[in-house]
Amino acid sequence: MTEADWPLFEVFIRSRSGLEHKHVGSLHAADARMAIEHARDVYTRRQEGVSMWVVRSADIIASDPEEADSLFEPARDKVYRHPTFYAIPDEVKNL
């Protein structure tokens, strides 16, 4: 078995307690335990994290770039969904 046969894992690291896990990259590993160890060795050498998630890349369900038009385009002209669209009356102090 060579590294080419090892499945790909996506790595997520939480940099501090209270923050969310963020995607930092991917790596190859033969199993879940090795993936955690590799994530530790590759992505936390400079104290980048306090917690790690690894997920098999094959288990991630992704949106299809071909469908970007129908998924994201419709939001483009709905500017009223942004809070900045609304003028705040002077009388409102604590918004």
């Binding site: 078995m1 060579t2 590294e3 090892w6 790596l27 190859h28 590993a29 033969a30 199993d31 335990r33 090795m34 160890e37 590799h38 530790r40 060795d41 590759v42 050498r45």
Partner: protein, 263 residues
């Protein structure tokens, strides 16, 4: 030479023994760290390359703290660099197991796992010792060693209980390296003196714990434990296999060629 710093008489003798004992711990970490560093650029996968480099750096970091301390106890003005780079093989006090060549990945893993399991017990014992400086170094080192052991025992089981070829290679590595294990827990006069002084743990007490751990790991890895070897090697007394000389030649040649060279 700061000879005056060494107390005379019985105290001085104990302090020299103490220095020798710390040197044994330091040299095992240093030599194993140097061996693992030989994998850099050659490991089977990029991720393993980084993992081995990390472990190597941990061990060299332990060696630096221990060498510095051994030099201070010795009182001859030798610092970590003088001890690491300007001693010859017979002056090294590492376990003979640590200097064994990397061989294939199986040999590297088995050697590393045997020493990790040993260091786990030794450092835990030193943490409870009367030497507070050694206890502090051990407290830092044991956190690293727990990860090293996780790494090496993981590979032991993965490869031992892997394919037919990986199983066979692991079994061969275990057979090749097993003869160096009696040294790990065979106390000599120095070990006994240090344990009587409350500085070091008693090797006789640690041996069954190491044995139980190693036996359980071997079982999980579906490997067979080799027969007990009665004869202990004496790396910690400076009697080494021929491999150490080559390792030191590579590690020391720069300092020997350009004394005092630094980055």
């Amino acid at each position: 030479m700061i000879l005056a710093a060494t107390p005379a008489g019985a105290d001085g003798q104990l302090q020299q023994a103490h220095s020798q004992y710390v040197l044994r711990l330091a040299d095992t970490s240093l030599v194993l760290g140097q061996r693992l560093a030989e994998w850099i650029g050659h490991a089977p996968a990029l991720e393993e390359d980084l993992a081995l480099a990390n472990v190597s750096l941990d061990l060299i970091g332990q060696a630096r703290l221990l060498l510095t301390y051994a030099g201070e106890l010795e009182g001859q003005g030798r610092d970590e660099d003088a001890l690491a780079f300007l001693r010859d093989a017979p002056e090294f006090r590492n376990l003979a197991l640590a200097e064994q060549p990397n061989g294939d990945f199986a040999h590297t893993i088995v050697r590393h796992w045997l020493i990790d399991a040993w260091q786990l017990e030794i450092y835990a014992g030193l943490e409870r010792g009367v030497d507070t400086r050694l206890a502090a170094i051990a407290a830092k080192a044991i956190r690293e060693t727990r990860y090293h052991y996780r790494f090496s025992s993981g590979w032991l089981v993965r490869l031992g209980d892997g394919t037919e070829e990986s199983h066979e290679r692991m079994q061969r590595a275990l057979a090749d390296l097993w003869r160096f294990t009696p040294e790990l827990f065979t106390p000599d006069e120095l070990d006994e003196r240090m344990s009587a002084a409350g500085i070091a743990p008693s090797l006789a007490e640690l041996a069954p714990r190491w044995s139980a751990r190693v036996t359980e790991d071997v079982r999980l890895a579906t490997l067979a434990l080799p027969a007990a070897q009665p004869y202990p090697w004496h790396g910690k007394r400076g009697v080494h296999t021929e491999h150490l000389g080559y390792l030191l030649a590579e590690m020391q040649h720069l300092q020997r060629t350009y004394p005092g060279a630094h980055w």
